[in-house]
């Protein structure tokens, strides 16, 4: 019994997938006092081949923890997940925006309540299976890209609480997915061959459009028009929630040139469509920023800005105004900057910070 002294105990968030399994295995092998915790996030049992945290996945996580001989617990975050992730997800579509539920989950569950839980279990750190790195360099803590360029998940992690960086561990950040799979096989982990989770974890059985529509009030799902910039009506749609800025497929409009969604006009229910050049954006605002590089950002800095998970970071000038309003000006115009999505600022491999995209057409 050591009272409240903090030792080398820490919590590993286990989803039941191969990444978090290897994370736990690596930390156990290094001799840390590992407590494995799985987050239970929703009530129903989604199909386990496309998501995490279903009962099957919790079973897998438990099997891995048992194999590693570490304590394993399931933490019930069903209510918090509904309020902080699912409600947000639906609400963003309601507002004609494109949500990023993984960011919401990281910002408001994993690196918030789960981090608090780790501390309340006597832990001094929290580890997850993300492909990103936290390093101590130049006298400060930095969040860096994972070395596997294809798997790098630092984009989703810009919202980590800056003060907590020393207590967050990403043991897979220096590895490639193939290396992780090899390690899982070498450790004979039951999750070694599991498929990657790609879809939105809580959307099961149906498409996310169906999921959203089921959760909107009846009067919030109303048919509307597809209109061109000049006001020409080119078709009808069954509800704004089905569309995302930049979308081309599934519009069902026959037109002389390919049409893209340019804007969702929630006030009148219209979808503004047009040719691809209409998506060109030179500048946009970013809201609710979290900074990792600085306590307070400089008023003006050059950065590489990434506006979607799979997008390439591109050079831009970032201006931070009074009250923290952030304005991004691209060197060359970019396509499909979707309000609600996340813009993350990089310097080389380092994540400087990020926030939510607002009003790209302003």
């Amino acid at each position: 019994m050591t009272g409240l002294e903090i030792g080398d105990r820490g919590v590993v968030a286990m989803s039941g997938g191969v990444d978090s399994s290897v994370t736990a295995a690596l930390l156990v092998k290094e001799g840390h006092d590992v407590v494995a915790v799985s987050m239970r996030l929703y009530e129903t049992a989604p199909r386990s081949d496309r998501s995490c945290c279903s009962p099957d996945d919790l079973f897998d996580a438990r099997s891995v923890a048992a194999m590693l001989d570490v304590p394993f617990y399931v933490a019930n975050y069903v209510d918090a997940f509904r309020e902080r992730v699912i409600d947000y997800f639906v609400d963003e579509y309601r507002r004609g925006r494109t949500p990023n539920p993984c960011v919401a989950c990281n910002n408001h569950l994993k690196f918030d309540v789960l981090l608090g839980r780790a501390r309340a279990l006597g832990g001094s750190w929290l580890a997850t299976g993300h492909y990103a790195r936290v390093v101590h360099e130049d006298g400060r803590w930095k969040l860096m890209r994972g070395v596997d360029a294809n798997k790098n998940q630092s984009y989703f992690l810009y919202g980590l609480p800056r003060a907590e960086l020393p207590r967050i561990r990403f043991p897979l950040g220096g590895l490639t997915k193939d290396e992780v799979r090899d390690m899982a096989a070498a450790h004979d982990l039951p999750t070694a061959q599991k498929k990657e989770s790609q879809e939105i974890c809580f959307v099961t059985g149906s498409s996310y459009k169906e999921f959203v529509r089921e959760r909107l009030e009846r009067d919030e799902v109303k048919p509307g028009r597809f209109v061109l910039e000049d006001g020409t009506v080119v078709g009808q749609h069954e509800g704004l929630h089905q569309f995302t800025v930049g979308q081309r497929r599934g519009l069902g409009i026959a037109w002389s040139e390919p049409l893209y969604v340019l804007e969702l006009r929630t006030d009148v229910g219209d979808v503004l469509v047009g040719p691809r050049r209409g998506l060109e954006t030179r500048s946009f605002q970013v809201d609710r920023c979290n900074w990792l590089r600085w306590e307070e950002p400089p008023a003006l800095f050059e950065s590489l800005v990434q506006i979607r998970y799979r997008a390439k970071p591109v050079p831009a000038q970032v201006t931070v105004g009074q009250g923290g309003a952030v304005h991004v000006e691209f060197e060359t115009p970019q396509y499909a900057v979707a309000p609600g999505q996340v813009a993350v600022f990089y310097h080389g491999d380092e994540v400087l910070g990020g926030g939510f995209i607002e009003s790209p057409r302003a």
Binding site: M1, R119, G122
Partner: protein
């Protein structure tokens, strides 16, 4: 770290004598009890000896004991059989293996407990049941969460005057307090081996002589045609041995010993945590169960921290995903959901020592302080 197990209501460790008897059976009794040769006869003899020991423990005749896979099976069968005869009177604090089959029945009168888990007056419930045309009663003898002992004999007397059948789930009581089917006056009674220091996966349903139940499993003549399937000889032998030990034990003395330890635990908890709230009656109650609510403490984190500090207790029930749900019993007592999550059940057993209780009290302040720190995050 030395661990302290205080979850004897969940399960008990196998008595060394029962373990020895099981190993002997596994090694020396290879026959099928239904076979007519000597090997079969020896296995049959062992099964029947175990059956007699179970019968003796509860004051039944051995022909009245149906060996099952456990109390859940026995409860399922009993409730379904009662339900065939008509509406059922039961309580909201039964084990899920009674609640769930009762849920399937068309008409059920469910007695709701008061704030201490106590049931309403029996005559009032019987009158209510009578008005609903009830034909059967299923009431547990002792509640697994609170340890409350329910007035089964009183229910049974009133029920039998009216020609209703009475089932009693005595799973938590057998081995802790005296249980006698005649004194209780019940027609059906369920018990489980692993709650009385026998092996898991075996139990029994007492069926009063003369009662006809539909076969539980068909396709074999075992258990007098009431439950087909080759007997799990070693497990049954282990249960028989556990029953023998329980029957020989000075239950009153052991109950007094556990009760004293339990009260020491409660006194210590109150000293550490003056706001702690004891849930359930102190009398009539099992001698080993202490259910405590720690207001303002997250039960899930509390349970994890207790376990990490080497203290095995329970709080509510695990859902299929393995996360903690508040006890339906505590909820039925009117405790709000969030507060019910802060409830912890300590249940003592025959191996529990004074030293173990002191160890728990020594570790508890750290556990509570840590758990409270969750509020920072």
């Amino acid at each position: 770290m030395r661990r302290v197990y205080l979850d004897y209501n969940a399960t008990t460790p196998l008595a060394p004598e029962a373990a020895a008897a099981m190993i002997d059976a596994l090694r020396d009794l290879p026959g099928n009890p239904s076979s007519i040769h000597r090997e079969g006869q020896r296995a049959r003899a062992a099964v029947e000896q175990a059956r007699r020991r179970v019968a003796e423990l509860i004051g039944a005749d051995f022909t009245e004991i149906v060996l099952t896979s456990g109390a859940s099976e026995a409860n399922n069968i009993a409730v379904a059989a009662l339900g065939e005869r008509g509406p059922l009177l039961t309580t909201a604090i039964e084990h899920p293996s009674v609640l769930a089959p009762a849920q399937r029945l068309a008409e059920v009168v469910r007695a709701q407990p008061g704030p201490h888990g106590e049931l309403p007056e029996v005559p009032a419930l019987i009158a209510q049941a009578e008005a609903a045309g009830v034909r059967g009663v299923s009431v547990m003898l002792a509640n697994n969460e609170t340890g409350n002992v329910l007035p089964v004999a009183q229910f049974a007397r009133a029920a039998r005057e009216r020609g209703w059948w009475v089932h009693c789930d005595a799973t938590q009581a057998v081995g802790k307090i005296p249980v006698d089917v005649e004194a209780l006056g019940v027609d059906l009674l369920s018990l489980s081996s692993h709650k009385l220091y026998g092996p898991k996966g075996v139990g029994a349903l007492y069926v009063r002589a003369g009662l006809e139940l539909p076969p539980m499993i068909v396709g074999g003549h075992q258990e007098r045609g009431r439950r087909a399937g080759t007997e799990n000889v070693a497990a049954i032998v282990g249960m028989g041995e556990a029953a023998r030990i329980s029957a020989q034990l000075d239950l009153a003395a052991e109950a007094a010993r556990q009760q004293e330890l339990r009260e020491a635990l409660w006194a210590g908890i109150q000293a550490i945590e003056p706001g702690a709230h004891r849930q359930g009656l102190t009398d009539p109650a099992l001698p080993n169960t202490l259910n405590v609510r720690f207001p303002g403490v997250d039960g899930e984190t509390l349970l994890m921290n207790l376990d990490l500090e080497g203290i095995a207790v329970s709080a509510g029930s695990a859902c299929s995903a393995g996360s903690l749900e508040p006890s339906h019993v505590i909820l039925a007592m009117g405790v709000p959901y969030d507060e019910a999550r802060g409830s912890v059940r300590f249940s003592l057993g025959r191996p529990t020592t004074e030293e173990e209780i002191q160890l728990v009290l020594k570790r508890l302040p750290v556990v509570l302080e840590r758990t409270r720190s969750l509020a920072w995050g």
